[in-house]
């Protein structure tokens, strides 16, 4: 089971240091998104990379539409991977949907995580009474129907928007990974993500967190970071990156690396 999973989700372990760092990629990307970050941390960490089951690099046959209706299944995957690798303590860096997954995983297995670093995280993308998630239900439906109608056009429009910063290589790279996802899976996953609401459970997190957000992110309003800070149960800090876009690890890896390093070094103090 473990091996199949490791193989199916392209789990890679890089580096040989003692401390373990898990990198979880976000929606529309795969583990290659970390390629500019990984070399900066290999000397100090053993890095575990894996693909979410929805990533384009994973055999779509593995994507069980009945199972992956909520993020919990993704959490299962993550925890199974960590168990299969015999990890008993790790720092976790999650981007976007992986940040959500990290939150849930740390609720389920708090002892497993020494630190969560949440990049571009949001507990819920939908606006609510006293919560500004950035999207109205109607808007999201529009997005979905756009995805359905013409996935390609949607990707072409969405990729530069998400990348935000003017980095053609990043846009290209992101479009590539986004295209790699089967459109139906992509749509299904984004529905899952938009249906997810972690607000009620943030308080169950006990692991210290670091919320990393860029100065301007189309999908995450600035207030969300503050919301996370006040509601996450663990000791939480915020880092605002002086760059734009939802994918700082692609557009400003050096900048992000320093923030990550800082965040990771802080957790050893506790």
């Amino acid at each position: 089971m473990g091996n199949i999973l490791l193989e199916a989700l392209n789990v890679r372990v890089v580096g040989s240091a003692e401390k373990i760092l898990v990198l979880g990629h976000g929606f529309g990307t795969d583990q290659s998104v970390w390629q500019r970050i990984v070399p900066l941390f290999t000397p100090d960490y053993r890095i575990i990379l894996y693909d979410l089951v929805c990533a384009g690099s994973v055999n779509p046959d593995y994507f069980d539409f009945r199972r992956y209706t909520t993020l919990d299944a993704y959490v299962d995957d993550l925890l199974n991977i960590l168990d299969a690798l015999g990890v008993d303590l790790c720092a976790y860096v999650g981007h976007s949907v992986s940040a959500m997954i990290g939150i849930l995983a740390s609720i389920r297995r708090p002892e497993l995580f020494s630190k969560l670093i949440l990049i571009g995280a949001s507990p819920s993308f939908l606006n609510d009474k006293d919560y500004h998630g950035g999207f109205e239900q109607g808007e999201i439906e529009k997005v979905f129907s756009a995805m359905e109608a013409n996935y390609k056009a949607w990707v072409n429009g969405f990729a530069p928007l998400a990348v935000g910063a003017d980095v053609p290589t990043a846009v290209r790279e992101f479009s590539r990974t986004l295209f790699n996802m089967r459109p139906d899976i992509s749509l299904f996953v984004s529905r899952t993500v938009f249906n997810t609401d972690l607000r009620g459970v943030l308080g169950m997190v006990r692991v210290p967190c670091c919320v990393v957000q860029t100065a301007k992110d189309v999908s995450i309003p600035a207030s969300v970071a503050e919301y996370l800070r006040t509601h996450l149960g663990g000791r939480t800090t915020i880092e605002i990156l002086k760059t734009e876009g939802h994918l700082p690890h692609m557009t400003a890896p050096a900048l992000l690396a320093q923030v990550l390093r800082r965040a990771l070094s802080h957790h050893s103090e506790f």
Binding site: L40, G200, M204, G233, A254
Partner: protein
């Protein structure tokens, strides 16, 4: 001489004769004089269960979807027929000689191959394909059997050409005809039999999984992931009562209880089957809000009864049973946010129940946020154990998956282009990349569809593919380019021909792209899993829906689409329904197609091969674009000369004495450099030893006169090292020079580095400059220095690590000076790279690729100095220190004329002084560009000089930030560097111990310069205005001028500016406003007005104030001002005028 139809018929079997009749009918319909082979082909293709078509299906190239190819075939046949001349209608167009000859040939053939004839007969009997041709054949041997008839028709050069155009090869078809499939299943259907894998996430039989899991089928199952997870919790031994936490928890709870009551408990383990749900939510609510205990009591009693029964049945051996007590939303227990005492009794009751019936009772509830639960558990600290609770985070509800979801449209979006690629076969060993082929193919299909749609709708020639190719690896782009050429050909045609040709071209293009993509994964796969069954996908069962879908999308086209499809509808729809649609649209155009289409069709067949052969093997080469200019961020000479160029360009006609002088100046220096580099350039700088020291020193001295000691040691070090390297010319000889500049004077260090690049390598282009601290620095916007760094960072490093950037630059410029500022703040990876580079002479990038740095000069800088040297520059209290100057902002400078009576405190002051002037004053005045009037060419020259100063200092004649801010900035910087790296000092020490030479810089004497400038300004002022008028210079202005002086390359640039720009401004102010001792003239920074690099002339803004202003406004309207400015520089200038304030002024007595 054509043969009558009847005569020809006699040579044919019944079936062949029927085909011939059809052919004759075709010829008649088209009013052709004779029935030719082409007519026969057309007829043979259109008759039901056509042997020819069948053979074609088997023979067709795997590269194209069959539907597509058949369409192409029909198209090309149709076009060829169109080309035949029509005549007056004949009853039965006689058989042409060529067709007759074919019949004769087939007769002969049949006679020659009796054995294959028998074989064929055997087969046709077996598989019923050839429609009982057998019987008639035996009757008359000489009668030509349909198969041979077809075979010989295919020999006809016209026919084989037509087939060739559609991508078929006649020989393949012939082969397919001679060797019919042996399968019993009708070959036409065999292809569509296998399930379309891409539609479902199931697997083949190997995995043992069955099913066709449609994405949203989960609702039909009646449970979702949440239920499953609840079930998981309930199975556990302890903590088995789930408390759902989350915003959607209530919904999930409802879903769970509903499916339990409906009897669907498939998600529960066998042990838990037969659970009964009792909901006391309503009762609890009533109890809490109204104190109504009765109902609750009743319910509890009822439940007790059931529980008793359950436990009893356990005793009796019955396995199942149990009660799930749903207490609903935990919030319900709160009354206006408070837990009342009555709740405690309820809680106690439940606790009691749990104790008694622990094995048979589950509590279940939901709570919106964990905070509410916390409040609850504060009151009842033991609740988690008492109720055996397990907090279960619920993150989404399934309900949102219901509803508006059209399956077919989703389907459509991932129907792959064609059924020609092998499907994944081995589930257990997923191959990365294999799946990409599928999605990529969807992608291609979609792209193709989109393009065609665009063309059909707008008829525009804009190709999405070109944009798309951006996203594709470079080798794919080739294809796009190739085909767009083909498109161009198509473009020259007119009307519908053009349209259809384009569509064809597009199809081909996407085919190509698609095929390329599949090639690699397919080969890969073959190597790895040779035994895996490769089932080509062709069909999808959803054609009907798709068709509807597409038709509803575009009804107008649809009408024309369907009739033309009709001849082929018996053939099962293959998955590329979209293609069919486009194809059939083409068919509509067929009648009007002209000869040109042929070419396109031919292209359709030939180009793929070309493309394949010309396939570029270099995969994935991301284009790297870097702005080289940024290598020189500050006012280095190259920048200046660039500026000069642009200035020259602007002022082509305005070359006056001053600018000429200036030019000459730089020419001289560059001539020198050219001389020195001419000898070094060719020999890659190796020969540069004699006189090295002197020439280097001379140039450096010129550039950075104030750092004479540093200049001396740099020139010494460089010349010595080069000499020693020059003497040992072995291959292994180290040729890189490592220098470290320590201490203050950032500009000086940088200037020396760029001068070195110029001296050693011939141009300042060969300076690779990186500020290692800039990536993480909180920066002040608009500051002279920072904004450049910020931009530099953005452009240079986005998407790259620093070491990658450096490596890439080194690759581009193998002989250059690498200038790394603030090496103490380098991140880990850069440090690692530097370590390795200094030891091995090779600089590794983040991927471990190394690049040699022989012949490079590597200069690292750090403000950190060791020991007493630090004290040396800190002990002197300075008014203007480097950090403050570095904070200078690019704001405009204004002259404000005030009345002395405004400010009593000033009244006694005369002369010039540097003060802090409130920034608020700046915005309150109307700005006026000086020199607006009397624009003479000579004056222009002078102004230009002023500009040049600004330019040279990179738009620095502007403002700075308040002192407090500067301090903050400083602190920020310090804390940053502290936090950056704990062990940086240790590393730095080690690193510095390895460099060839450490050079200490001394601080720039800003105070001295400031005094000089003040003196200069005041003398200017006194000369023009008079000594009795006091002049105040804002500190910030001072900082700015200092920054400019520091940055400017040319000696005397600032002096020039003072004289030509400031002096003139003073003069003008004096002339206009008759400054008296009652006035105060202030030189202030215009906060917020950033000097635009493109419009440096803005720097001379003048601000006239108070009594003068109304007159000023009357005299010059905005319009005039604008015109004046326009004339002056061809630039519209920004004019700030607060009208409200003006009104105020005018109302003053």
């Amino acid at each position: 001489m054509p043969t009558p139809v009847t005569a020809a018929r006699q040579c044919l079997t019944e079936e062949s004769a029927r085909a011939l009749d059809e052919a004759v009918a075709v010829a008649r319909r088209r009013s052709h004089a004779q029935t030719t082979s082409l007519h026969a082909v057309s007829a043979l293709l259109s008759i039901p269960s056509s042997t020819l078509r069948d053979a074609c299906a088997r023979a067709r190239s795997i590269a194209y979807p069959s539907r597509l190819q058949f369409r192409a075939l029909e198209l090309s046949v149709g076009v060829s027929l169109d080309r035949l001349p029509s005549s007056k209608t004949v009853e039965d167009p006689p058989i042409s000689n060529s067709l007759m000859a074919a019949i004769k040939r087939s007769q002969a053939n049949q006679r020659r191959h009796p054995e294959s004839y028998h074989l064929q007969q055997l087969h046709s009997n077996n598989n019923n394909i050839n429609n009982a041709t057998g019987c008639s054949q035996t009757a008359a041997l000489l009668k030509v059997e349909l198969k041979y008839f077809i075979l010989s028709i295919l020999d006809d050069p016209i026919v084989s050409r037509v087939f060739g155009e559609a991508g078929f090869r006649s020989c393949d078809i012939k082969l397919a005809l001679v060797h019919p499939p042996v399968t019993h299943v009708s070959s036409r259907f065999s292809r569509t039999r296998c399930p379309p894998i891409f539609l479902c996430n199931l697997t083949d039989s190997v995995s043992g999984q069955v099913g066709f899991n449609f994405p949203f089928s989960c609702q039909e199952d009646g449970f979702d992931e949440n239920c499953r997870r609840i079930g998981e919790v309930m199975v556990k031994k302890s903590g088995k009562s789930p408390l759902l936490v989350g915003v959607c928890a209530m919904e999930a709870l409802r879903g769970f209880t509903e499916s339990l009551t409906r009897g669907k408990s498939g998600f529960l383990d066998g042990d838990l089957a037969g659970l009964i749900v009792i909901s006391i939510e309503k009762e609890v609510n009533e109890f809490v809000t109204e104190g109504n205990e009765e109902k609750l009591g009743l319910k509890m009693k009822e439940m007790k009864g059931i529980l008793e029964k359950c436990t009893a049945s356990v005793g009796g051996g019955g396995g199942g049973g149990g009660v799930v007590l749903n207490f609903g939303d935990l919030k319900g227990l709160f009354l206006e946010g408070v837990l009342s005492d009555s709740v405690s009794s309820l809680v106690l009751k439940l606790t009691g129940l749990m104790e008694v019936y622990r094995r048979k009772l589950w509590l279940i509830g939901a709570v919106e946020t964990v905070e509410i639960y916390r409040k609850f558990s504060d009151k009842f600290p033991n609740i988690e154990i008492d109720w055996d609770l397990h907090l279960l985070p619920i993150t989404s509800s399934k309900s949102s998956f219901d509803g508006a979801h059209s399956k077919s449209s989703l389907m459509k979006s991932f129907v792959p282009f064609g059924g020609f690629f092998p499907t994944p076969s081995d589930f257990r060993s997923p191959l990365s990349g294999r799946n990409q082929s599928i999605t990529r193919c969807n992608l291609c299909n979609e792209k193709y569809e989109q393009e065609v749609a665009a063309i059909l709708k707008v008829g525009s020639t804009v190709s999405v593919a070109d944009q798309h190719s951006e996203n594709l690896p470079s080798w794919l782009r080739m294809a796009a380019v190739d085909t767009s050429k083909g498109e161009d050909v198509a473009k020259t045609k007119d009307g519908e021909t053009m349209l259809s040709a384009k569509v064809l071209g597009l199809q081909k293009k996407w085919d190509d792209i698609c095929q390329r993509l599949h090639h690699m994964p397919a080969i890969y796969k073959l190597n790895l899993t040779p035994a895996g069954p490769q089932v080509p996908i062709v069909g999808a069962p959803q054609f009907a829906t798709e068709k509807k879908q597409s038709s509803s999308e575009d009804p107008s086209i649809n009408e024309s689409r369907f009739p033309s499809q009709s001849p082929s509808t018996q053939i099962p729809r293959t998955s590329e329904a979209e293609n069919t649609n486009f194809q059939s649209r083409l068919l509509v155009d067929v009648s009007s197609l002209a000869q040109q289409t042929d070419k396109v069709v031919r292209g359709f067949t030939h180009q793929p091969q070309q493309n394949l052969s010309g396939r570029n093997p270099s995969l994935f080469v991301p284009p790297v674009t870097t702005d080289l200019k940024l290598g020189t961020m500050y006012a280095s000479t190259s920048q200046e000369s660039n500026n000069l160029k642009s200035l020259d360009h602007k002022e082509r006609l305005q070359r006056g004495s001053i600018s000429a002088e200036f030019d000459a100046n730089t020419k001289n220096t560059s001539y020198q450099f050219a001389q020195s580099s001419s000898c070094s350039g060719l020999a890659t700088g190796e020969q540069f030893d004699q006189g090295d020291y002197k020439s280097i020193r001379k140039v450096l001295d010129e550039k950075v006169g104030w750092q004479d000691e540093a200049v001396n040691s740099v020139s010494q070090a460089v010349s010595q090292l080069r000499r020693s390297y020059g003497s040992c010319r072995g291959i292994s000889c180290k040729g890189d020079i490592w220098l470290t500049f320590l201490g203050p004077d950032r500009v000086g260090k940088r200037r020396i580095a760029s001068a070195l690049a110029e001296v050693l390598f011939g141009s300042q282009e060969y300076l690779i400059s990186v500020d290692l601290s800039s990536q993480d620095k909180g920066s002040q916007s608009n500051s002279i220095f920072e904004c450049q760094e910020l931009n530099g960072y953005d452009v240079k490093f986005r998407g790259k690590t620093v070491s990658d950037f450096i490596a890439a630059e080194v690759r581009k410029k193998p002989h250059s000076v690498i200038f790394l500022e603030n090496v103490d703040e380098a991140d880990y990876y850069v440090r690692h790279s530097l370590d390795q580079a200094i030891r091995t002479g090779k600089f590794p990038d983040s991927h471990g690729r190394e690049i040699g740095i022989n012949n490079m000069v590597l200069i690292t800088t750090s403000t950190i100095t060791k020991g007493n040297t630090t004290v040396f520059f800190e002990k002197k209290p300075m008014k203007f220190y480097e950090e403050r100057i570095l904070g200078a902002k690019s704001w405009q400078i204004q002259i404000v004329v005030g009345s002395i009576s405004d400010d009593v405190s000033r009244s006694n002051v005369t002369g010039t002084r540097v003060t802090k002037i409130k920034e608020a004053s700046a915005s309150a005045f109307v700005n006026k560009r000086k020199l607006i009037d009397t624009v003479e060419s000579s004056e222009l020259e002078k102004t230009d000089t002023g500009e040049r100063v600004c330019k040279a200092s990179r738009s620095c004649l502007d403002l700075n930030l308040p002192v407090e801010d500067t301090d903050e900035d400083l602190k920020l910087g310090e804390s940053d560097s502290e936090s950056l790296s704990e062990n940086s000092e240790g590393w730095l020490e080690e690193f510095l111990s390895q460099v060839d030479k450490k050079i200490l810089f001394k601080p720039f004497d800003f105070d001295g310069l400031a005094n000089k400038i003040v003196k200069e300004v005041s003398s200017q002022f006194q000369r023009t205005v008079g000594s009795e008028v006091p002049l105040e210079i804002d500190q910030e202005v001072m900082v700015q001028i200092l920054a400019a002086a520091w940055l400017s390359e040319r000696k005397g640039a600032v002096e020039d500016w003072l004289e030509k720009v400031l002096g003139r401004s003073f003069a003008e102010a004096q002339q206009k406003y008759h400054l008296t001792s009652q006035s105060v003239v202030q030189l202030v920074a215009c906060e917020g007005v950033v000097v635009n690099e493109q419009a440096p002339e803005l720097t001379g803004y003048l601000l006239f104030s108070l009594p003068a202003l109304p007159r000023f406004i009357y005299n010059l309207t905005f319009l005039e001002l604008k015109i004046a400015f326009k004339d002056w520089k061809g630039k519209m200038l920004l004019i700030l005028c607060k009208l409200s304030w003006c009104d105020q002024l005018m109302n003053r007595p």
